[in-house]
Subunit: 574 residues, 2 copies
């Protein structure tokens, strides 16, 4: 029975409203332990750790992008804490595909132990390479695999299966151990007529199902969406329509990893006598990699340098750009606000956002659409045309998959709580009774064919800020948010160490409000008096004096302005 | 021909990519001048100023809610700058309906001149009342009007027309002057079977069209959406389904202004033997107003105090709550994270988000849905059930309206750029040639039946922060964002005024990063040396010394951490 928003769900102890999980017991022999370090409870920073008799296998190692309440943060990593004392026990890191939320954190893991073997498909490892070079990591230990390959690492006997996704060369991985077989779908969908002909290998899933899948880790991203994910082919007519009706320049924005989409654009351009230039560093780099490795077929002479393209007659131009999520510094954003150095939008140009709108990015994308519209562009996007489809299986595909694999246990992964729960509902709907609902840090043991939550390890968000990792924690973020919402006032008083009295100040420096120096005049003397008072009471260290300053100015600002800026009182003895 | 994303639009000089508009010429006799102060280029803070021969009429006066890049800001007002020297010339403020983005800024206008007559429907003025009392404004000059009324204010001869919207008692207003007639739709849609039976009066629009509408100001919010806005009645089955299948408590979140929706909930509760409690201050207050004035029919005994309701058996409970947009401090958010003082969610409860998802709020709503899901609730929302419809006309309704009114000129209002342009396309599609695309601050003159942009006045965002208005400007917000993303470092040095040398410090206080005091040890002596150096070069004022401090620490932090925190260097002479 398909899931609906209506049915009351029968909940049991495996459901995730358990908040009081204890640390797990020691790992017993004959048990496969699974610990998600990221990707469960958020869409991003996917990383799952498998442990068997002291040896470790890691599947994926990605990043999560920050929200607006995490200002100044560039990236969020999975928390390596639970495996930090086991780095040497890591047999390999398997990368299912080349998206940032599966490979972006790998350099940070390799910085901790740089000879961990990396296993992945050819395109996936080719996309990992530049990252490792950026981080100045030594030539890593590579194992290129393709669908059908089997390879062992310690007690983990791996078999790779082709899956269809929004980036080529994506793999699912079966992990056989004496404790049972885990099958990880990675990110997948099941387009039956994919543009590159590489379908998700359901027959392999069937074969593994016959053998017996003990634990099935499945992509929950679109589990809430009923029906089936539209085929990529269905976009071709919409792209064709844009090319047929546009009289001037065409700018297309899509992900730099979406090679199939780029292929559709190149083909349309060739058909309509236009040339294509790539704009944006990652677009240029990724398309070069894809073309070199044969994942992109570039029609003769169609691709030129973007600056050359921008000089052609507008009706001959196609610019393929990054920035489809409205990222502020991206090429498309700069085009939208008129600050790009060589792409200057003109009325009558068409901009095609051939991409998804990742939840959370609605504001930035809207800003870009408004900017482009204001400059006179005709903006085509998934809100007004069929120009993008998801890369993830919807409920319909997940049901097929559960029925074909018929695993003993299911563990939904890759989603926020709402997605994981919707995925769990699907598995239960086809009759799979044991569904483990976990979040990051939960410890799941597979033993004698039964998977269950046995405890939880401490994990948190690990922030990358500039070139520091973990130097910014939630405490600093709280401070930053106070600074953002309230500003700060720095109050400095100098106390003469000889006379024991205030000798200079208060110097008051404030930011975040339109405060003039003179605004603080009424409180200066009271501050001096307050400090002198605590000195008279016998205080000899500056701490008590600083507290007096804090109280005096804090109360005054609170009353006068009803604000609570951060107060930095400093008393210096000189 | 219906608009599509495809057609290249023929653009002319009235289009908005004119960025170099000058201040307008003086207003000539016989000309109706229209200046939008808010609502064009953003969805919110609607306020339009009409001027004729020195007299002014204001239509609506609403607020805009801040985005995440406007931290610490509570509200954003329209910029009253252009009318500040004309306050005494304001004949009246007409309020089309009681939503915040149309009435929320009125108290701030009345604070500048408290006897401006306010004109609106009975419910609209009843919702304005508590706001004025909160701001301690004297009993204002009220004129209650209803559809069909005509009333003059100076040269403005007003006629009111019923329109259907997502709040009862909404009005459109025709403004007749010797220079021509302007017709303002206000916010509207055209549900032909509205729950309260009060349709948008198309016959009145037709009559006005026959007379001749010179300038038609139309609601652009849903102009990009093809087809017709679904009727409110279509939601009833979905609500019925929730009530029929829920075994435990039902919590419904919707806007405190959406009385029709509340009526549907009350009726369903009565039918299924449940009682209803209101949670959230504005819900309690607004439903009391609505019930008193007859806009809400409360079935006998169905509504009780929320705390009483929460004590009933779960299968008898309905709690109607604010917080449908995931507002952090709202009742629903507190329920979702388990911190509400008397509503404790249990597994099996149903939460129905019977509301729109206002663009921009996706993250906060998702946070709430995840929180509720984690607590075991079954969450029903517009993504998985037909439980909300828009309050605004879609393209289909707008086309009907243009064809019936056949105005000489159209000026799209109430929308971001993308919405305004889509609305303009609709007007042109039916053959209306003169469409004025304006944004906030543009000055539009209607003269001899032709409306055109004649210039622009300076307007900006006016921020309300706590109880201050305009004390926070974009400069302070920029500062706040730097503080948020980078933190700050305060460096204090004391110079002995006698010896002319550094006598204490540097005291370094930093926030926003995990900086220890000892982290700064390497740079302390260089700071002292830098200050002593500029003193030795003859500097006598602290400014040059502070710059030396700034350079020294700024360069060091930039190199060492690749961050650029705000630096506050202070040199005090003591």
């Amino acid at each position: 029975m398909p899931p609906s928003g209506w049915a009351s769900r029968r909940l049991d102890s495996s459901d995730m409203h358990l908040t009081n999980l204890l640390p797990p017991p020691d790992l017993e022999s004959g048990t496969l332990r699974v610990i998600p370090l990221g990707g469960l409870g958020e869409v991003g920073r996917n990383m799952t750790v498998f442990e068997y008799e002291g040896r470790v296998l890691v599947v994926d190692c990605g990043v999560l992008f920050p929200e607006e309440q995490q200002p100044g943060v560039d990236l969020i990593l999975p928390d390596f804490g639970p495996i930090r004392d086991k780095l040497d026990a890591i047999e390999a890191v398997v990368l299912t595909h080349g998206h940032e939320d599966h490979i972006g954190a790998l350099p940070y893991l390799l910085r901790e132990r740089n000879d961990i073997p990396i296993v992945g498909s050819r395109l996936t490892l080719a996309l990992v390479d530049p990252k490792l070079r950026e981080h100045r990591l030594r030539e890593p230990v590579h194992h290129v695999v393709r669908e059908g390959d089997r390879m062992s690492f310690g007690p983990f006997d791996l078999e790779f299966v082709a899956v269809n996704h929004s980036i080529p060369d994506a793999l699912a991985v079966a992990i056989r151990t004496p404790a049972g077989m885990a099958l990880v779908t990675g990110d997948f969908k099941m387009d039956q007529l994919p543009l590159d002909g590489r379908i998700t290998d359901l027959r392999a899933f069937a074969r593994l199902g016959e053998e017996g899948v003990d634990l099935f880790l499945t992509d929950s991203t679109n589990a809430e969406v009923p029906g089936f994910t539209t085929s990529e082919r269905n976009i071709t007519p919409a792209i064709e329509q844009v090319f047929r009706t546009s009289e001037q320049r065409i700018i297309v924005a899509c992900f730099a990893s979406h090679m199939h989409r780029v292929q559709q654009i190149l083909d349309a351009a060739a058909k309509h006598g236009r040339k294509v230039g790539y704009v944006g560093r990652s677009m240029v780099r990724n398309m070069a990699i894809a073309a070199d490795l044969g994942y992109l077929t570039v029609p003769d002479g169609v691709v030129r340098d973007a600056k050359e393209i921008a000089e052609l007659p507008p009706s001959k131009q196609v610019l393929l750009s990054t920035g489809s999520q409205g990222e502020p510094m991206s090429a498309l954003s700069r085009i939208a606000n008129g600050t790009h150095n060589f792409v200057h939008l003109a009325p009558g140009d068409t901009v095609l956002l051939a991409s998804s709108l990742i939840p959370g990015n609605e504001n930035s994308v809207s800003r870009v659409i408004n900017g482009l519209t204001r400059l006179g562009a005709n903006v085509v996007h998934k809100g007004n045309a069929l120009v993008h489809v998801s890369g993830h299986a919807s409920a319909g595909e997940l049901l097929y998959t559960y029925n074909i694999v018929r695993p003993k246990n299911v563990m939904p992964v890759h989603g926020e709580v709402r997605h994981l729960v919707a995925n769990a509902d699907l598995a239960r709907a086809v009759g799979i009774e044991n569904v483990v609902l976990a979040e990051d840090g939960y410890v799941v043991d597979l033993r004698d064919g039964v998977a269950s939550i046995v405890g939880k390890v401490d994990v948190g968000l690990v922030f990358v800020d500039g070139n520091t990792v973990g130097d910014v924690t939630e405490i600093e973020l709280k401070d930053r948010l106070i600074l953002a919402e309230e500003g700060f006032i720095s109050v400095i008083v100098v106390v003469d160490s000889v006379s024991g009295k205030v000798s200079a100040g208060p110097e008051i420096h404030a930011r975040g409000h339109v405060w003039e120096d003179s605004d603080f005049d009424p409180i200066r003397q009271p501050i001096i008096d307050a400090v002198n008072a605590v000195i008279a009471e016998g205080a000899t260290d500056t701490y008590a004096m600083q507290q007096a300053v804090r109280r005096t100015i804090g109360r005054w600002v609170g009353t006068k302005m009803r604000r609570r800026p951060m107060i930095i009182p400093v008393v210096i003895e000189a």
